[in-house]
């Protein structure tokens, strides 16, 4: 990794060498990804509760379950992990579908993006993507929350989220990103979405380009990032209908974040990003950056990241 990118990675909560290797094995990247030694190494780390990496297990099982030379116990572990997540994700989607259908009875269908959208369209199988909670974009918040509460969800005290009787949590959003709105993707994601069916419920599915942008830009708002964005982006980038010119329409800081994220994905995870896009310098008009900084002043993490990103770019 180049020095500039390495400095940016620190601010963007990107993985260190060990997590990077784990992700590469889980994604099946590299010559040794499917070797029994690599899988044993990965399993030992995923099984360590301190690392919080169990969400990788179903993906590891989906990409490596049929690798040659695996011992019976490793095969059983991978198969069991996949089977468990298959059953769990079926239940997850049924609960989600029930809530989505109820919301759709009184207003526009909700929209799914990132994790759940990719799980249903881009991952090798649904169970390869562990969805911790349900994120739905809605047109209107009050009615949508009321509808959710008719399907077994209840408000979580002192939090914006909802919890189902099963324990599954959900969050409703008016915008793909935190903050006070005003992002170009706020409206574009609805305009470009397509009808989809989730376990029988009509829902809107974000367009592949918007799913990718949502996936690689959301971490820039988060103080503590999570490596799921890398895995999601890996599969989002596999779509053959990515409109790369959409990057040019992003606000200045997002152009920087997107460019850096794509560079990292290409360099470290062999992502299929067009070479000319990676070679292109990111233009950051000063006035636009200043305006973005003002708008996002209260998002401390994002501001810090932008500072890191600018430093990296100028470095």
């Amino acid at each position: 990794m180049s020095g500039r990118l390495a400095r940016f990675a620190q601010g963007y909560a990107l993985p260190g060498p060990e997590l990077k290797r784990l992700l590469r094995i889980a994604l099946g990247i590299g010559e040794d990804a499917h070797s029994p030694e690599s899988l044993r190494w990965a399993l030992a780390r995923i099984g360590d509760s301190e690392r919080g990496l169990r969400w990788l297990m179903p993906l590891l099982a989906a990409t490596n379950g049929k690798a040659e030379g695996l011992s019976p116990d490793i095969q059983a572990k991978l198969q069991a992990a996949r089977l468990y997540e298959k059953q769990r994700s079926q239940r997850f989607d049924e609960i989600a579908a029930s809530a989505i259908a109820k919301i759709g009875e009184t207003s526009a269908p909700p929209l799914i993006s990132r994790g759940l959208a990719l799980a249903r369209t881009a991952y090798p199988c649904r169970e390869a993507r562990h969805c911790h909670d349900l994120d739905l974009l809605v047109r209107e918040m009050t009615g949508a929350r009321a509808a959710m509460q008719q399907t077994g969800f209840a408000a979580i005290p002192e939090e914006a989220g909802l919890r189902h009787a099963s324990g599954m949590t959900a969050r409703l959003h008016l915008s793909p990103f935190p903050g006070d709105g005003g992002h170009p993707l706020d409206s574009a994601i609805w305009e470009r979405a397509a009808p989809f069916e989730l376990a029988g419920a009509p829902v809107l599915l974000a367009a592949p380009t918007d799913v990718l942008l949502h996936t690689i830009l959301l971490p820039s708002w988060l103080v503590a990032g999570h490596a799921t964005w890398i895995v999601d982006a890996h599969f989002a980038l596999a779509a053959d209908s990515i409109e790369w010119e959409a990057l040019d329409r992003l606000p200045a800081p997002d152009r920087l974040f997107a460019a850096r994220a794509l560079s990292l994905l290409a360099e470290e995870f062999s992502a299929p990003v067009p070479a000319e896009l990676l070679a292109r310098p990111v233009k950051l008009p000063f006035g636009e950056v200043l305006e973005s900084l003002k708008r996002m002043a209260r998002w401390k993490g994002r501001k810090a990241l932008l500072r890191e990103g600018l430093a990296a770019l100028m470095g």
Binding site: G47, M57, A76, Q79, A81, E85, R88, R91, H130, S166
Partner: protein, 163 residues
């Protein structure tokens, strides 16, 4: 034959495996009538069989299992409710190098003991295919599921049970 009044679990479901397990503890050699059928315990057991190898999860206990030998084939047919007599006959036709009745009884007793199967009233009449693996059936038990899987809710099936 297993004869006992039904017991009820804490979830309110009829719990036939309990009476079977009780017998396993008192009888070394558990014999089943050829017409006896089983099924997987509803709402707590999920399984997948790939190339005659089964992986079974008891979601209620958090233990998972794999099979060796012809265990996966037996599991498929037991779970489908095929009568024990039909399973025994198919195994005999395959001429395996183990004592069929004793091995089958041991395997079934273990499945009962682990609360994976219970007595069923109906099911498939015939086995779907001949056993491909001729070795003695074995059940391998793994108790490290919590170390390996993200067990955040929703649980796969348990929360659909009635109170």
């Amino acid at each position: 034959m297993l004869v006992s009044s039904p017991r009820h679990s804490k979830m309110g479901q009829e719990c036939n495996y309990w009476r079977a397990a009780t017998l396993v503890r008192t009888e070394k050699s558990l014999k089943f009538a050829s017409s006896h059928r089983f099924r997987t315990i509803p709402n707590s057991v999920v399984a997948d069989v790939v190339e005659d190898e089964a992986v079974i999860i008891n979601v209620e206990t958090g233990i998972y299992y794999s099979t060796e030998g012809c265990g996966g084939w037996i599991w498929s047919n037991v779970a489908a409710g095929v009568p024990i007599g039909a399973i025994t006959a198919a195994l005999e036709a395959a001429s395996p190098e183990f004592e069929i009745e004793a091995a089958l009884d041991r395997f079934l007793a273990e499945l009962i003991e682990e609360k994976l199967i219970e007595t069923a009233e109906s099911g498939a009449e015939e086995v779907q295919s001949a056993p491909q693996k001729g070795a003695e059936p074995k059940l391998v038990i793994y108790r490290d599921m919590q170390d390996l899987m993200a067990l955040d809710p929703p649980m796969p099936i348990l929360d659909e049970q009635p109170d």
